[in-house]
């Protein structure tokens, strides 16, 4: 029997959050953490979490699994369970709505700030804006982000200033558009990032790189943004 400890909080009935200890029969199978949650929910339908695709594509089931942020649906028990114990908590630093569900508003506000859409002030061509394979290759490692928030909610700088520091997820996307050969708003984008908080609150702690379930590297993207700001300032 797998020992599971799960964070429970229902603001309508509970004064305070608490950890509930449960047991699950995994039948000795190396299932995903999400499968364990589904089994638990079969017993107690009040257990609340987000999920949709169950294959690491939608980004809805980011949570803190044995102390490390990740997607429940693609985390094998064998990758995280030690001493037969599984501890599940909501993503840190964001307000809890209920059990493992957090309020992502602050996260999305930061995403909105970086204007995550292509901007081009030249006349639209008849068919489409072309990119060379080399130009397209610059977007690799950036466009794959699924906005699961595992990175930003593992970043101490984001915990302390979630209203002013864009956070790793937002900055990775900021660079995705800075690096896009079809985007002409580079100067405006950089001007919007040149305050002491948006980018420069990153102190290279690298928690973000450590947890990204898609294997992306926000710290490197932040480094590129810093270089662009330097060149612009010079």
């Amino acid at each position: 029997m797998l020992q599971v400890s799960i964070y429970r909080y229902n603001p309508e009935t509970d004064k305070e959050p608490y950890m509930q200890d449960l047991e699950v029969d995994t039948g000795g199978k190396d299932m995903m953490v999400l499968d364990v949650l589904e089994l638990l929910k079969g017993e107690d339908p009040s257990i609340t979490y987000r999920r949709s695709c169950r294959e690491g594509v939608c980004g809805s089931d980011g949570m803190n699994i044995n102390g490390k942020n990740g997607l429940a649906c693609i985390t094998h028990l064998s990758d995280t369970v030690k001493n037969n114990k599984l501890v599940l908590r909501p993503l840190p630093g964001l307000p809890v709505v209920r059990d493992l569900v957090v309020d992502m508003s602050l996260f999305y506000q930061q995403y909105e700030k970086i204007q995550p859409y292509l901007q081009n002030n030249t006349p639209a061509p008849a068919i489409e804006r072309l990119q060379s394979p080399e130009e397209r290759a610059k977007l690799d490692g950036l466009y794959e982000c699924i906005l699961c928030a595992c990175c930003s909610t593992s970043c101490p700088s984001f915990w302390w200033n979630p209203d002013r520091f864009i956070g790793p997820a937002g900055l990775l996307q900021a660079y995705r558009f800075l690096a896009d050969s079809r985007d002409t708003a580079t100067e405006e984008r950089l001007a919007n990032l040149d305050d002491p908080f948006s980018v420069f609150r990153c102190h290279n702690i690298q928690n973000c790189v450590n947890v990204c379930p898609k294997g992306l590297n926000p710290t490197r993207a932040i480094g590129h943004i810093r270089t662009m700001l330097l060149q612009r300032g010079a």
Binding site: N161, D163, L229, G233
Partner: protein
Amino acid sequence: MVTAVTNLGRSGLYDWLVQRVSGVILLAWFSIIGTYIGMNGDMSHAQWQAFFGQTWMQVLSVAAVLSIGVHAWIGLWCVLTDYLTTRMIGANGNVIRGIASAVCGVTLFTYMIWGLQIVWVG
């Protein structure tokens, strides 16, 4: 809400650059002192004073004192705006941070003046 009015420069980039440059100056200063002490085991006070009395060392020391001032201020400003905020310590956050910043600022300023006096006036 934390505002940026008390940060040193105009922009994050400027603060970041100042932080790197002052860091390099401090590294150079401490390395020179470390090497000098390493090479002169038994040092007399007169020798020590002569070492600091050389013009180039005085110039570098002044730069180091100024660097410590700005380096510490930027670092402290970051720490204070991380932890002493309304988000972290409640409604009085901004007032408490203001007081803490003032204490840090006055202390740093005093040490800088004192330090300059020591290395330049002797």
